[in-house]
C-alpha cells in the first residue's frame, strides 16, 4: 500500500502559502463533510486561528503537525498530499484511526518565509527570504516542564495549541514535520523498531538523498542505527549540561520541553521527525580523505563563522540602539549571533585540545566545515538584512541606509561565493514529500 500511496504524490512545483494551505483545507472539509472536519484548535501569537483537519472516525488518534519551524514547509506539503489521499483512499484511511493534521502550527513565522516558497529555489533566494525564530519563540521547544532544578511555564501560543491537541487527543502517534536545509537526511524516532530501519533509510537512498552519517545534530543525541536517532528531550539536554558543563545547568537552559518529551508524559505515543534537505551537493556523502586535517578543517570553519558573527555583531553594535522597529528578524539574528559566539569559544578549545582530530578530514567533513557552515551563516546575515530593510522602510535614516547597503553588499558577496562553490542540485518537492509520507506510513504500520 505504501508504494501505491507514494506513487500518487503530485509533482508540486512550489510550496503553498499559509493562505493557500488554509483554503485547501476549507475546501476539503466543505466537499467531504462526512469524512473531514476542520477545527480551530488555537491561535498564533499574532492572533491568527490555527486549523486542524480531522479525517476519518477511528478511535485511535494520529497527530501530524507541520511548520514547527517556519522555514520548513516540506511537512505542510506532505500533509497537503496526505489529506487528499485520505479522502480518496478508504484503505489508507482505515477504520482504526482518526487522522489529525495541522498543516501550519506557526502561521505568523511561516508567512515571513513565503518570499522563497514559489522559487526560484537557489541558495541566495532562500537565504534572502529566510526567517526562523530563536529557540524560546519556537512552537517545538516551549512545552512546560519541571525537571530537577529547572522549571519552565511559558509556552508560546503555538505550543499551547499543541498542548491542547496532545492532551485532548492522547495520540498514538505524533509526527513533528521538520526538515533540514543542506546536508543529508536522517530521522529521530521513538520507540526504535529495528525491523523498519532499512525501509526508512531506503526511502532516502532510493531517491538519491544521502544519509547524514556524521556527528549527531545535538551532542547528547543517541544514534540507534545509521541516520536514525532517538527522539530528544529537554531532560537529556539538562543531564548533559549537569554532567559535562560547569556551574548550574539552569543558567544555561532556555525554553522548555519538546513535543516528544511532552507527549511522552501524556500518552507515550510513537514519535517521528524526518529531517530532509532542500539542496544536495555530491560532496555531502563523499568519504574519501583529503590533504587537510580534520582539526584544520574545523578551525578554518570556526574562522569563517567568526567572520560572520564579527560582521553581524559589528552592525548591531553600530546601529542597534537606533533601531526603532522591533522586528522578529532582529530578535532572531541578534540572539542567534550571541548564541553562536558563546558556542564558538568552547568549540575552538575543544578542537585545539583534541589529538584525535589530527587525522585527514574526509571530503564530506571538509565540505561540512568550509561550506555548509557558511550556508547557515548566510541565513543569519539574511535576517540581519531583513531587519535593516524593514527599519529603512519604516523609519529611514542615513545611518540605517548606509548599514543596509553594507549588509546588502556583504550578503551578495558571500552568496555569490557559495553559489560558485556549491555544485548543488535542488531536490524536487515531490521526492521530499514521498519520503516524509513513506516514513510516517512505515511507523504507523508498527503501531500495536
Amino acid at each position: 500500500m505504501i508504494d501505491r500511496i507514494l506513487s500518487k504524490v503530485p509533482a508540486y512545483e512550489y510550496f503553498l502559502s499559509v493562505d493557500e494551505l488554509n483554503e485547501s483545507s476549507r475546501r476539503l472539509a466543505d466537499e467531504h463533510p462526512d469524512l473531514v472536519r476542520l477545527e480551530t484548535v488555537g491561535a498564533s501569537t499574532d492572533g491568527e486561528p490555527i486549523g486542524m483537519l480531522r479525517i476519518g472516525h477511528g478511535k485511535e488518534q494520529l497527530l501530524f503537525f507541520a511548520c514547527p519551524h517556519p522555514n520548513e514547509p516540506i511537512g505542510a506539503m506532505t500533509l497537503e498530499a496526505l489529506s487528499h489521499q485520505l479522502v480518496d483512499d478508504a484503505e489508507l484511511r482505515g477504520e482504526r484511526y482518526t487522522w489529525n493534521l495541522i498543516k501550519c502550527i506557526d502561521p505568523d513565522s511561516t508567512r515571513l518565509n513565503e518570499g522563497w516558497f514559489k522559487g526560484p529555489f537557489t541558495i541566495t533566494h532562500y537565504a534572502r527570504e529566510f526567517y526562523r525564530p530563536t529557540s524560546f519563540d519556537q512552537a517545538e521547544w516551549t512545552f512546560p516542564i519541571v525537571y530537577k532544578e529547572y522549571g519552565f511555564f511559558r509556552p508560546i501560543p503555538e505550543t499551547q495549541t499543541l498542548m491542547t491537541v496532545i492532551t485532548g487527543l492522547r495520540p498514538a502517534f505524533v509526527y513533528s514535520l521538520h526538515n533540514a536545509g543542506m546536508g543529508g537526511g536522517y530521522y529521530y524516532l521513538h520507540p526504535h523498531r529495528p525491523e523498519i530501519d532499512d525501509a526508512l533509510r531506503a526511502l532516502m537512498t532510493d531517491r538519491g538523498i544521502p544519509l547524514s552519517l556524521g556527528e549527531p545534530e545535538m551532542p547528547w543525541g543517541v544514534e540507534l542505527s545509521p541516520a536514525i536517532y532517538q527522539s530528544t528531550t529537554l531532560t537529556e539536554h539538562y543531564d548533559f549540561l549537569e554532567k559535562f558543563g560547569q556551574g548550574d545547568p539552569c543558567a544555561k537552559m532556555q525554553g522548555g520541553e519538546g513535543s516528544f518529551g511532552f507527549a511522552r508524559g501524556i500518552s507515550d505515543p510513537a514519535h517521528l521527525v524526518c529531517e530532509l534537505p532542500y539542496f544536495y551537493d555530491a560532496r555531502i556523502d563523499d568519504t574519501s580523505t583529503t590533504d587537510t586535517s580534520r582539526k584544520d578543517a574545523i578551525l578554518q570553519g570556526i574562522e569563517r563563522t567568526s567572520e560572520m558573527t564579527g560582521f553581524t555583531s559589528g552592525i548591531y553594535a553600530r546601529v542597534g540602539e537606533r533601531l526603532t522597529v522591533t522586528s522578529r528578524f532582529r530578535t532572531a539574528s541578534e540572539h542567534l549571533t550571541k548564541l553562536i559566539v558563546d558556542g564558538l569559544e568552547v568549540k575552538r578549545a575543544w578542537a585545539e585540545n583534541s589529538p584525535e582530530l589530527d587525522i585527514p578530514a574526509t571530503a564530506a567533513q571538509l565540505f561540512d566545515n568550509l561550506v555548509v557552515g557558511r550556508f547557515y551563516n548566510l541565513l543569519i546575515v539574511g535576517m540581519l538584512r531583513r531587519a535593516l530593510a524593514l527599519e529603512n522602510e519604516q523609519a529611514p535614516t542615513p545611518e540605517i541606509g548606509e548599514a543596509l547597503a553594507e549588509v546588502e553588499e556583504r550578503f551578495a558577496g558571500w552568496a555569490t561565493e557559495l553559489e560558485e562553490e556549491i555544485d548543488y542540485r535542488v531536490i524536487p518537492i515531490k521526492t521530499l514529500v514521498e519520503i516524509q509520507l513513506g516514513a510516517a506510513l512505515h511507523i504507523i504500520s508498527t503501531l500495536s
Partner: protein, 448 residues
C-alpha cells in the same frame, strides 16, 4: 509526619484579586530562597495568571484558588498557607514543592469583588454575583475526545492550568471551590475511606451542617456521607450517548473537568472542599416529612421554572435590543436555555423514576424548595447587571432595556425578600471556612 493545622486569623472580608496577587509577589520577593512566583499564562483579558512555588521537594502539590470566580475562600486559604509554609520549616518539609495559584480566573473574580467586603447576606451575595457559563469556565474547558465528541478549545485560563498540571504532574490537587447556601461536602478521588470521618468532623466541629439534601449532580457517586467522587465529562458523554443522544455536541458545550484532565495526565489525589457562606441546619436533617420526595422535587422544579421562565421572557424582550455585549449578558444568555432544558429533563426523570416514591427528608425538602431555587435567582442578578451595564452605556436611548431593568429590579427584590424570610441562615465566620479548606487538604496530603 502529621501536618499540623496552622492557627487561622480572624478575617472580616475576602481578599481582592489585587491583594491576593500582591501578597503572593511580596512573599516571593521577601523569601526568594524559599518561594518564587511564576507566570503560568494569561487570562482572557490579558492579566497574568500566577503561581507561587514554595519549597523544593521532588513531589508536587497543587492548590487552585478561585476556580469559580464567585468562590474566593480559596484565595484566603492559599494566602494563609503560603505565609505559614515560608515561616514553618516543619509544615513546608522537604518532600514536597507547594504550588499555589491564588486566582485561576482573575477577570471574572474581579466582577465579584462587589460583595467580597461584606455585609454578607443572601441578598448582597446575589446582587454582586457573577459566574461564567460552562463553556467559559476555567475549570470546564479542558480538551478531550470521547465517543465521537471532541472539545479542543480551552479558555486561556484553562490553558494556564494545563501548563501548570502538565509541567508539575502533581501528586495532589486541591481545587478550592466552595458552596454558597446549605451545608458542606467534599469531592475526593480516588476515595480514601479513612478520610471520610475526619473530613466530616472538620465540618461538624465548626457547626457546619453536612449537605444531605439533593446531590449537586444527580449522577454523582457518593463514597460516604457528604463525600462524593469527583466528576468527569467522560461520564456525562457516556450518559448522553447511552441514553441515545445522536450527537452529544448538541447537548454539551464544554470540555472536561479539572479532575477529568488531571486523571489522564498524572492521576493525582484530587480534593474539592465545598464549604458554604450561609448555613441552614435543615440541610443536615434526614427526618422524613409528610410529602413524597417526588412532590418535593416537582415543587422545586415549579419554582425554578417560574424564575427561568421570567428570565427567558426578559431575554426574548431584549432580543435585538442590546447595544452592549457584556460578560453578564453572555452568561445569562448561555445559562438560561441550558437551565430550562435541564429542568425539563429533571421533570421527566422525576415523573418516571421509582426512587421518588419515598417521603422526602427535611434536607431534601430544603434543597428542593429553597437551595436550588436560590441558585436560579442568582441568574436574575446576572441579568440585572447586564441590563444595568446596557443602560449605563446606552443612556436614555434604550427604553426597552430601562423598562426591563425596572421590572427585573422589582422581581429580584421580591424573590430575595422571600428567601431572606424563609431561610433562617447563619453567616459563617470566614476563618472557619478557611480552616476547613486548609485542614481537609493537609489531612489528605498526610495520606499520600
Amino acid at each position: 509526619m502529621t501536618l499540623v493545622l496552622p492557627s487561622v486569623p480572624d478575617y472580616e472580608t475576602f481578599l481582592t484579586v489585587d491583594e491576593a496577587v500582591r501578597n503572593a509577589l511580596d512573599l516571593a520577593s521577601s523569601a526568594p530562597d524559599l518561594a518564587r512566583c511564576v507566570e503560568i499564562g494569561r487570562s482572557t483579558d490579558g492579566e497574568p495568571v500566577r503561581m507561587l512555588r514554595i519549597g523544593d521537594g521532588n513531589e508536587q502539590l497543587l492548590f487552585i484558588g478561585c476556580p469559580h470566580p464567585n468562590e474566593p475562600i480559596g484565595m484566603l486559604t492559599i494566602d494563609l498557607l503560603a505565609h505559614r509554609l515560608v515561616e514553618d520549616d516543619d509544615l513546608r518539609g522537604t518532600r514536597f514543592t507547594w504550588n499555589l495559584i491564588p486566582c485561576a480566573d482573575p477577570d471574572a473574580a474581579r466582577l465579584n469583588e462587589g460583595w467580597f467586603a461584606g455585609p454578607f447576606s443572601l441578598s448582597d451575595y446575589a446582587r454582586g454575583f457573577y459566574r461564567p457559563p460552562f463553556g467559559e469556565q476555567a475549570i470546564l474547558t479542558f480538551p478531550f475526545v470521547r465517543r465521537g465528541y471532541a472539545f479542543l478549545r480551552p479558555m486561556p485560563e484553562t490553558r494556564a492550568l494545563i501548563t501548570a498540571m502538565t509541567a508539575l504532574r502533581p501528586r495532589f490537587i486541591a481545587s478550592l471551590h466552595n458552596a454558597a447556601l446549605g451545608g458542606g461536602y467534599y469531592y475526593l478521588s480516588p476515595n480514601v475511606p479513612e478520610l471520610g470521618d475526619p473530613l466530616r468532623r472538620l465540618l461538624a466541629e465548626r457547626g457546619i451542617p453536612l449537605s444531605l439534601g439533593e446531590p449537586e449532580l444527580p449522577w454523582g457517586i457518593e463514597h460516604s456521607l457528604a463525600v462524593f467522587d469527583c466528576t468527569t465529562m467522560d461520564a456525562h458523554v457516556d450518559f448522553l450517548v447511552d441514553q441515545g443522544t445522536p450527537d452529544p455536541t448538541s447537548r454539551i458545550d464544554a470540555g472536561d473537568t479539572t479532575y477529568g484532565f488531571a486523571r489522564r495526565v498524572c492521576d493525582p489525589v484530587f480534593l474539592i472542599c465545598e464549604v458554604p457562606y450561609f448555613t441552614d441546619p435543615r440541610i443536615a436533617d434526614t427526618r422524613s416529612t409528610d410529602a413524597p420526595r417526588r412532590t418535593s422535587v416537582l415543587e422545586g422544579i415549579d419554582r425554578a421554572s417560574e424564575i427561568l421562565g421570567f428570565l427567558g421572557d426578559m431575554l426574548k424582550r431584549m432580543n435585538g435590543r442590546w447595544t452592549t455585549n457584556s460578560r453578564f449578558r453572555r452568561a445569562v444568555e448561555a445559562i438560561v436555555p441550558q437551565a430550562i432544558d435541564g429542568e425539563r429533563a429533571r421533570r421527566r426523570w422525576t415523573e418516571r423514576s421509582d426512587e421518588f416514591d419515598e417521603p422526602a427528608t427535611v434536607a431534601q425538602a430544603f434543597s428542593n424548595r429553597l437551595e436550588t431555587p436560590y441558585y436560579h435567582v442568582l441568574n436574575v442578578g446576572t441579568l440585572r447587571r447586564a441590563l444595568r451595564y446596557e443602560c449605563d452605556a446606552a443612556g436614555r436611548s434604550n427604553d426597552v432595556a430601562r423598562a426591563a431593568l425596572a421590572e427585573v429590579d422589582e422581581r429580584f427584590d421580591a424573590w430575595l425578600g422571600d428567601f431572606e424570610a424563609a431561610i433562617d441562615y447563619r453567616v459563617m465566620p470566614i476563618e472557619d471556612l478557611v480552616e476547613v479548606q486548609l485542614a481537609s487538604a493537609l489531612r489528605t496530603i498526610d495520606t499520600l
